[in-house]
């Protein structure tokens, strides 16, 4: 009567910290961050060299109207004969730029407000927290739409600023919580007793410990910014004078590209936005796993460990339940 490897799943619920990490399992976060970095890198390169390698001027019209992809136009043309590939390449820069600028501004605001609130405590904390909670709960897009509506015609930078104004609250809340817990740690108390200035403590002692969270907030806010900017552009509220992926989609929608099936026009920009978002998302997941060790170690589904005399191994340990497996 041999033990059957019923079910095969290891005890799902028992992630006791192993003595040392197994080489196999550590591959997981590395895989994610590598994929994310490569993907992001591709788009960054395109953003930098795009305008120089684009075969045509994205705004240049021509007689080749609504052509599917061909040798002359690798991604086809628009309703006014403009080259889709060139628009994609050139538009990458503005899209990423808005995202990065908005992300940086919003995260800086979040750090400023969140860490200050967490560190100072008391009335300052109450006030700043109330403010960030309010901004958190107010729906972002309608507010952005209203603001952008008034600022119609302003450049991409204004769009970025408007988005930052609505996107900083989430990071601020997380950073405040983290600062609150770090503030009580002994090494901070020691620094305060030593008489170190508040600025020194915050910049040199607290922030380095929150670096992971700050980066995570930066990544998430950038994704949010890119998506919001694209939505705005699609609604006709972005800066229509400069090319971005959202603008491409605006013109595509205007020309009813979706109903006439000009997929080469609207599919590439959408997929590119999704890919950039995915890249940032994967990086964020990798950082999450780094910060939270419990997420790191996955149990292998089936362990075929060599045993001394063929005795029971973990693979024979069934899932927690009763009749779930035969």
């Amino acid at each position: 009567m041999t033990a059957t490897a019923a079910g095969g799943e290891a005890i799902a619920g028992l992630n006791l910290e192993p003595l040392e990490p197994s080489r196999r399992r550590l591959a997981r976060p590395r895989g994610k961050s590598l994929a994310g970095l490569i993907l992001l890198g591709v788009f960054v390169i395109i953003a930098i060299v795009g305008p120089y390698v684009a075969p045509y001027d994205p705004s240049a019209t021509s007689g080749a109207i609504l052509q599917p992809p061909s040798a002359a136009h690798l991604l086809g043309t628009t309703q006014t004969g403009q080259d889709v590939l060139s628009q994609l390449l050139v538009g990458c820069r503005v899209t990423l730029l808005i995202g990065v600028v908005a992300g940086l501004v919003a995260t800086s605001l979040a750090v400023l407000i969140g860490v200050t609130a967490g560190y100072l405590g008391g009335i300052a904390d109450e006030g700043l927290s109330a403010m960030s909670n309010i901004f958190l709960v107010l729906p972002a897009l309608p507010l952005v739409i209203v603001l952008a509506g008034y600022l119609r015609g302003a450049g991409p930078l204004s769009v970025a600023v408007v988005i930052s104004v609505t996107g900083w609250a989430f990071g601020a809340r997380v950073l405040r919580a983290q600062t609150l817990s770090i503030r009580e740690r002994d090494f901070i108390k020691a620094a305060r007793l030593k008489g170190e200035s508040v600025l020194r403590i915050v910049v040199l002692e607290i922030l380095p410990n929150e670096l992971g969270i700050v980066i995570s907030a930066l990544l998430l806010t950038t994704v949010f910014a890119i998506l919001t900017a694209a939505s705005l552009a699609f609604l006709g509220l972005g800066s229509l004078s400069s090319w971005s992926w959202g603008t491409m989609l605006y013109w595509a929608q205007n020309a009813e590209a979706f109903t006439i099936g000009a997929w080469w026009w609207y599919v590439p920009p959408g997929i590119c936005i999704a890919l950039v978002g995915t890249a940032l998302g994967l990086l964020n997941l990798a950082i999450d796993e780094r910060l939270n060790p419990r997420l790191r170690y996955a149990q292998p589904v089936r362990r075929r460990a060599a045993t001394a005399q063929g005795g029971p191994t973990a693979a024979d340990v069934p899932a927690l339940t009763s009749g779930a497996e035969a």
């Binding site: 005890i11 006791l16 192993p18 003595l19 040392e20 029971p312 191994t313 024979d316 009749g323």
Partner: protein
């Protein structure tokens, strides 16, 4: 990794017909964990017997493998841990006539689930986090009941829960309380009540009082002793504090470096410890009846995976011989003292001589 020691003595393998049937028997258990360098053995061939209604204490420093042993016996090892060889046998009271033990390590599926808690229950170290924070404790007790018998009515579950909470001194009024409403001591008593809900024959307690203050600790220990004598279950009491076992246990086993060093009835162990490590432990805490210098054991226990060859204690042992660094001695019965005492040592302390068996603060013996 081949065991660098002599094979276990014959007395442990067979079960002579005349001896009383134990409740739980751990035979030559080896448990390892995963690591990048391969499998790290943490329990290296431990044999332990728990008699019916006995309270056996398992003492040892952190990292000696006692907790792992308990989890392995209770089939609660995490996925990264696994039993590489050995047996865990359970003799249910009801089936005693038949004489066939249950092979705990080979249980699967529904059989395993039914075995859990009904036959073997466990009280964990940190009751702080051992209770589900979003369910009232009555519900958590009821869970244990209904997991094994769906037909039990809610009323019956409530009554049983009330009965148990009264039994442990928490009070039936607390059935609807949430864990955060209870103090640390009350939470641990609740864990105790929950462990007894199905009248298990074996209860393993893994450092149940470590997280509590001394006064509460005393109360809980008294409670455990009283309950055990009243209900008759066997207890495997794991602790790093040997002093707790002096008033509590029937027998004590001392573990070090993944191996059993000594095992004896408590009076024999305290009165005439044979292993240098046991003697050192006994001298490291103050007692009322003796007045002497407290002695700490020089050096530090080895980390799993980097055990020295031979006897793991030899670097810190004053009585170490050359053989000690080559071969690990087997656990042998000390017939001179009594058939119930065994020690694993090449140079055990002779019965008359007890003091001075340890190096004071100096690491390593030659």
């Amino acid at each position: 990794m081949t065991p660098d020691r002599l094979p276990a003595p014959a007395t442990a393998a067979a079960r002579p017909a005349a001896e009383p049937v134990p409740a739980l028997e751990i035979r030559d258990l080896w448990v390892s964990y995963n690591s990048p360098a391969g499998d790290v053995p943490v329990v290296r061939g431990v044999s332990l017997t728990l008699g019916r209604g006995q309270l056996v204490g398992l003492a040892g420093e952190s990292g000696c493998g006692k907790s792992t042993l308990a989890h392995a016996a209770a089939r609660l090892l995490p996925g990264s841990g696994h039993v590489t060889s050995g047996q865990v046998l359970y003799w249910p009271l009801a089936a005693e006539a038949a004489g066939e033990p249950v092979d705990v390590l080979r249980l699967t599926g529904e059989q395993l689930r039914q075995f859990r808690w009904r036959s073997l229950a466990m009280v964990f170290q940190s009751a702080m986090n051992s209770l589900n924070p979003v369910l009232p404790i009555g519900a958590q007790i009821a869970d244990a009941i209904r997991a094994h018998d769906r037909t039990v009515s809610r009323k019956a579950c409530r009554e049983r829960g009330a009965e148990l909470l009264d039994l442990v001194g928490v009070g039936a009024g607390r059935l609807r309380s949430y864990p955060h409403e209870l103090s640390g001591g009350m939470r641990q008593r609740t864990m105790l009540a929950m462990a007894l809900v199905l009248n298990p024959e074996i209860v393993i307690m893994d450092e149940p009082t470590t997280a509590l203050d001394v006064v509460v600790q005393r109360e809980i220990l008294d409670e455990i002793r009283a309950l055990q004598q009243r209900l008759g279950f066997a207890v495997l009491f794991i602790t790093h504090d040997l002093s707790l076992l002096l008033d509590l246990a029937d027998r004590v086993a001392v573990m070090y470096g993944g191996l059993l060093m000594e095992e004896a009835p408590v009076t024999a162990l305290v009165g005439e410890p044979a292993h240098p490590y046991t003697s050192a432990l006994l001298h490291s805490f103050p007692t009322i009846d003796r007045q002497e210098r407290l002695v700490s054991i020089g050096g530090a226990p080895p980390a799993a995976g980097s055990y020295p060859p031979g006897c793991p204690f030899h670097p810190r042992c004053a009585r170490a011989l050359d053989t000690c660094s080559i071969k690990m001695p087997a656990l042998t019965v000390r017939h001179a003292v009594g058939s119930a005492c065994s020690v694993a040592c090449w140079n055990p302390i002779p019965p008359a001589q007890v003091v001075g068996a340890v190096l004071e603060g100096e690491p390593g013996a030659s």
